[in-house]
């Protein structure tokens, strides 16, 4: 519980350092400015309208109401030790894993140890002050000496003039006490006056009684003297009246001065307490201790109750379960200083054992609480650098996992595991392995989709794999493979188009596997390729047929077979070559056919028919000749049957 309070206070102190604190706490030190302690006037001062303790309370309330928020937000901060999560004013954060803490911690780890001469002297002065104010040794003289040392301590840069603030507060308290002495002296004078008046009043009253008893024996003259007695009584009452009036006035003045003294003292107490609480929350526990000891020496009346705002009081009361007093602050400060010393010792021990994770955690805790304590400030830089290296790699690991760079994260985990024996690899490795497996599954699906040409699934799976592990090397490989495939495919498509425009169908046939694969996802080109391959099939069949006929010695028939294919596919080189060879072997027949066709085109059906008939006589089975004869016969005899 105490550790929780410490961490909570440290967190609050961080917030104070960030300037997040508003309202009463910041207003508290300003109160002296609004109500500076004034020397007690010889005349009775006007009575304060409020009683003891009320100003602080009313100030807190007014501050809360005016600012719309209280000292620590709308509720008391809550710390969960199990998760290191602090909830405060509707927000939650990890106290050891936030940007401000990390920055301050890294700055500290890089800073040289505070072992220079001025820093050592400064710590010695503070220690000297605390020794002079320690409960067993404190005397008025030692208090004065400690007061003088405050001025010396404030000259050091490390002090940040905090000792000056304490000295000012002590001086104000002393002035207040001096004013109280004056008020006491004035009160004594008034008391003397009151006593004198009471005496006079008593004498006056007793004289009246004597005169009454002296005149009671003379009965005859009684009636005559009644009027005289009444006149004497009236005269004495007239003498008594001013005395009684003055007595009432003096009594009222005495009460007013007493009240004024109490109020002034209370005001000074509140200011002093506020300063001590502020130092405590700033984690300046040495200064808080010095403050409490000065406070006790000045206000030795035994009243050590805290009279700061309700929220500040709750901070101590609700977390420690004790009534908030100066003693609470004193003991907490001492306890924290001890805890920090132990934390630093634990850090050194764990460092020796090469257990960097625990060592760094202990140092971070000690730093968070006791940033300004000598045990933390004087830590060796070499040791801190080892912790820094671990912290940097840990932070890098967190960043790597956050940005899903699991390759780097895995490397860092290996490094951390090597350097820190106690590093827990289970959590990061679980996250890394899970992400890698899921990414691998998506990549496998993407590969399958790429092979099957399913672009939609390919894109979806690649996107999913990228979201899980953007820098996955396998992702790069798959992308390269897909792009390479796309490159080969696009090049093949370009080649196909080019060969198609050149009517180089034989080249397409020779490389048909490449073009079949390339045009798989393009139906239009697939159709063109199918046509080319079918035509080439016809050409090849014609060539084979011609060669077979040639083998039988039927050159005219072989030529005619090649010629028929040539007329449909005149650009095929192989067919051309076969046809050319056969032309020489069936020259007469070929000549007759060509002459016939030429003359037919020249509209000389007689001559043309003669050539066709000659060709037919050369090769009776000629289809060209037969068709030519039939055609021209029909031309000559349109009504022939």
């Amino acid at each position: 519980m105490k550790r929780g309070l410490v961490i909570l206070l440290a967190t609050a102190a961080l917030a104070v350092a960030q300037g997040d604190v508003s309202s009463e706490f910041q207003n508290a030190p300003q109160q002296p400015a609004r109500n500076p302690p004034q020397p007690a006037p010889p005349q009775p001062a006007p009575a304060q309208p409020t009683g003891g303790g009320t100003p602080a309370k009313s100030g807190a309330q007014s501050g809360s109401n005016a600012g719309g928020s209280s000292f620590l937000g709308k509720d008391v901060p809550f710390f969960d030790p199990g998760s290191n999560i602090v909830t405060w004013d509707g927000k939650s954060w990890n106290i050891s894993n936030n940007a401000i803490f990390e920055a301050r911690f890294e700055k500290y780890l890089n800073a040289p140890p505070a072992v220079t001469s001025p820093e050592t002297e400064y710590q010695a002065v503070l220690q000297h002050i605390m020794e002079k104010l320690s409960p067993g040794r404190i005397t008025p003289r030692s208090t004065d000496e400690a007061f003088q040392l405050l001025a010396k301590a404030s000259r050091y840069q490390e002090d940040a003039n905090l000792c000056d603030s304490i000295a000012n507060q002590v001086y104000s308290a002393w002035l207040s006490r001096k004013n109280n002495d004056r008020l006491n002296a004035a009160g004594k004078t008034l008391e003397d006056e009151r006593k004198r008046l009471e005496w006079n009043a008593r004498l006056t009253a007793e004289g009246n009684k004597l005169e009454s008893s002296g005149s009671s024996g003379k009965s005859k003259e009684g009636a005559a003297n009644d009027e005289q007695r009444q006149q004497q009584q009236l005269s004495r009452e007239m003498q008594m009246q001013p005395i009684l009036t003055r007595l009432a006035e003096i009594t009222a003045l005495i009460r007013a001065n007493q009240l004024k003294r109490k109020v002034a003292e209370l005001q000074v107490k509140i200011e002093f307490q506020s300063l001590i609480v502020q130092h405590f929350l700033q984690r300046r526990f040495q200064h808080a201790l010095i403050g409490t000891r000065f406070y006790r020496s000045i206000f030795a009346d035994g009243d050590s109750q805290l009279r700061v705002g309700e929220d500040a009081k709750n901070l101590f009361a609700k977390t420690s379960g004790l009534p908030p007093t100066m003693g609470t602050i004193d003991s907490l400060a001492n306890e924290i200083m001890r805890d920090v010393r132990e934390g630093v010792q634990a850090f050194k021990f764990l460092l020796e054992k090469n257990e960097l994770q625990s060592a760094t955690k202990r140092l971070a805790e000690s730093f968070m609480i006791g940033e300004y304590l000598p045990a933390v400030r004087t830590l060796d830089r070499v040791d801190k650098r080892r912790a820094l290296s671990f912290v940097q790699k840990s932070n890098q690991l967190i960043s790597a996992i956050e940005v899903k760079d699991f390759a780097l994260a895995e490397k860092l985990v290996a490094e951390l595991n090597e350097t820190a024996k106690d590093f827990d690899v289970s959590k990061p490795m679980a996250a890394i392995e899970t992400a890698k497996q899921i990414s691998a599954m998506h990549i496998a699906k993407a590969r399958n989709a790429a092979v099957s040409g399913d672009k939609e699934t390919l894109e979806a799976e690649l996107k999913a794999a990228t979201e899980i592990w953007p820098r996955n090397p396998a992702l790069t490989e798959v992308s390269k493979m897909i792009f390479s495939q796309a490159d080969v495919q696009s090049r093949a498509l370009v080649d196909f188009d080019q060969l198609l425009s050149q009517k180089n169908y034989r080249q397409i046939l020779d490389d048909k596997m490449r073009f079949i694969a390339a045009t798989a996802m393009y139906p239009e080109k697939q159709g063109q390729l199918r046509k080319v391959l079918e035509d080439m099939q016809v050409i090849e069949t014609s060539i084979i047929q011609a060669q077979e006929i040639e083998k039988r010695g039927d050159y005219a028939g072989a030529w005619e077979s090649a010629e028929k294919a040539f007329r449909n596919f005149p650009d095929d080189n192989k067919l051309n070559q076969v046809r050319a060879n056969l032309t020489t072997k069936a020259a007469d027949f070929v000549h007759a056919i060509r002459q016939a066709e030429e003359l037919e085109q020249k509209e000389q059906p007689g001559s043309s028919l003669s050539w066709y008939l000659k060709a037919q006589s050369e090769y009776p089975s000629s289809e060209f000749a037969r068709q030519g004869v039939n055609r021209l016969t029909k031309q000559i005899l349109p009504d022939a049957s």
């Binding site: 000389q604 059906p605 003669s610 008939l613 006589s617 016969t633 000559i636 349109p638 009504d639």
Partner: protein, 132 residues
């Protein structure tokens, strides 16, 4: 010696007689032939020229003698188109036998002498024909 001389003369006489008979036969045949050819005043068709450019011969009348190679077609209005082998069958020309000669049977293998006119399309149109 005398008998050998007598026999020689007889043989010579016989041979001479046979030669005379043969000469008479050939002469008679030659006479008959030359006097019986119907279109002997008409020039024969120059088949080479016809094959190269029939249009150049349009309007001319020629005669050819050849063997019927094939019947190409028959039109009731125009007649029969036949293929005729000429120059010992080395060349074949189409001949249109008009309806005027429907009474003549034309069969493959028959030889005919055709009197032909090259019409405006270069077709050899029969003006007359007779078996050779």
């Amino acid at each position: 010696m005398a008998r050998r001389g007598k026999s020689s003369r007889l043989t010579l006489g016989i041979i001479t007689a046979l030669l005379l008979i043969l000469a008479a036969f050939i002469g008679s045949r030659l006479f008959v032939t030359t006097t019986s050819e119907p279109f002997r005043t008409i020039s024969s068709l120059d088949v080479r020229t016809y094959l190269e450019n029939a249009n150049s011969l349009r309007g001319n009348v020629y005669k050819i003698e050849g063997e019927v190679m094939n019947s190409l077609g028959w039109s009731p209005t125009q007649g029969r188109l036949i293929a005729v082998g000429v120059e010992n069958g080395s060349e074949v020309v189409p001949v249109l036998v008009t309806t005027n000669f429907n009474h003549i049977n034309i069969q493959k293998g028959q030889r005919f002498i055709f009197l032909l006119e090259v019409d405006n399309k270069g077709i050899l149109r029969t003006k007359d024909m007779t078996k050779s």
